[in-house]
Symmetry: C2
Subunit: 313 residues, 2 copies
């Protein structure tokens, strides 16, 4: 590919407008060539289509698509794009099931195109310095607290509490994408409790315990019912003191009180994602790490289900 | 390894006594050297230990272990065995979570030992001839009916309806292990309904729909409450007529009414499993196909949960 990557953005909801459009606009290597959405708004001066079939029928030349639709409908669109020979950027989570992601990955490999299972929180500025610090530390415990108000952050996103929407794991998977990146060893769920509102098919809160082969205790507290102060914190106790990632990975505080800056801080998570996507497209490779989604599936598989009061938005 | 494989059988419940002990006794390449169980009975003339720590402390020379414990406790025992340099045969399902199986697999590779995620139903006599027939057919639909009486087949196995016991997916995963073997293309869950008794953490029934990239419709009906005639059937409609696997894969009826025999029929599922285990141990490879377990995790992740009447054994 010689010129910039001609990208169609599919699913023009909040995340597309708030994050993808500005990140693409700031990236010299990627040009927004089309938007696709049944209900969402397009972008001034950019061709807009109702669905991917209309985009294909238009004959517009496209190199890649970024999918921001709810996960329940993402697979079919991704499969259509791969069949066109387009590279595919998947918002998180990369699918509604692990099997469909495995199949997209195999299809992308067979077609020789790049598939990117993006995890935006891994591009928060505190994440890479935290990973570097923890590589040399003896880790004693990890405590994740991810408590936010669904009414504030997800207005009108009813799909989140429907089957396949993952409920509180929609934000919680961001925490898991960070923890799987910063810890030096893999880990697995040992216990989980999931709170299902009596009128919802997805959990509104979850408490998880993980371990690794050396017995490290990792706990996570996810809750969608948090009013007042919000928490997106990861606290790691080590032999060298306490490391804390605040604000979803945006702010890192090391045991000596220092707050290392990081080049990613200059750009923002989605600029980092699009840099990575351009990199794998040019290298003709894929980047599909299913570990965060696998932990979510394991939580549903392994967990106790508790019924809690109905949720009324 | 020159002599026969010296094997310790861990978890001496129903499946160990009914299937593993006779299959091992009939296999010249494997010798039952120890049994390990906290509550279950041993085998006359074979050393017995209370747990894997006692087995290790005994200094008895062991090459491999077969784990028949409930899945909730399997990982820790497997990790201990791998650390001893012992090859590991895992009863189905290979673990309580996908992450722990991935980690055991990585540990086995690092230690240079063989890990076998066994799926006994794949060694039922009808399975390989069904696979061969379907490789050349145009498949139009697949209907799985797996309905059995939990009280008849799983007496005293309370762990099945506890968290991590998988409920009706404990038998249902056998059906999935066959379907993933006989169909020529991978598939994924599109819809699932899971029935949870109000007093159980695992489902007692499930209805699943799958599709593949070409739109093939696959449905599965799993139920643990089946009284009277039991069903373990897979019906495949093709352009060449209807293929039916009865009795959990034991009996295959082809469209022309013929019932092909197969060499495996001379042995039985567990003899086939131990032949395969000996093969991978001698070849120093592993055989860990997580596809059936991944479909189960996806069903929990993607499915609607319905509450049904309590189950009293």
């Amino acid at each position: 590919m010689s010129g910039p990557i001609r990208l169609a953005l599919i699913g023009m909801g909040k995340i597309a407008h708030d994050q993808h459009v500005p990140a693409i606009a700031a990236d010299a290597d990627i040009v927004l060539t089309a938007t696709v959405s049944r209900n969402g708004e397009g972008v001034a001066g950019v061709a807009h289509f109702r669905d991917i079939d209309d985009l294909i029928a238009s004959g517009l030349e496209i190199d890649a698509v970024a999918l921001c639709t709810p996960p329940q409908v993402r697979r079919a669109i991704a499969a259509r794009a791969i069949a066109q020979g387009w590279h595919v950027f998947l918002e998180k989570p990369p699918g509604a099931t692990l099997a469909e992601v495995a199949q997209l990955s195999a299809a992308a490999d067979a077609a020789g195109i790049s598939l990117f299972a993006s995890w935006h929180s891994r591009y928060a500025p505190g994440v890479e310095p935290a990973r570097a610090f923890l590589a040399d530390a003896e880790i004693r415990s990890v405590t994740v607290t991810w408590r936010e108000d669904i009414r504030v952050w997800h207005p009108g996103q009813g799909w989140i509490l429907e089957a396949g929407g993952f409920g509180v794991f929609d934000p919680g998977i961001n925490a898991l994408s960070i923890v799987t990146r910063i810890l030096p060893r893999p880990f697995f769920i040992t216990d989980a409790e999931l709170d299902f509102p009596s009128n919802c098919a997805a959990p509104i809160a979850a408490r998880l315990r993980f371990a690794d082969d050396l017995g490290l205790a990792i706990s996570a507290d996810f809750d969608f019912r948090q009013e007042g102060p919000q928490s997106w914190d990861i606290v790691v106790e080590t032999d060298r003191g306490t490391l804390t990632l605040h604000d979803g990975g945006a702010r890192l505080v090391l045991p000596d009180g220092s707050e290392p800056s990081h080049s990613a801080a200059l750009h923002g998570e989605y600029s980092g994602l699009y840099r990575r996507f351009a990199e794998i497209v040019h290298a003709r490779t894929s980047d599909v790490d299913i570990a965060p989604l696998r932990h979510v599936a394991d939580a549903f598989l392994r967990g106790e289900r508790l019924t809690v009061e109905p949720f009324i938005e």
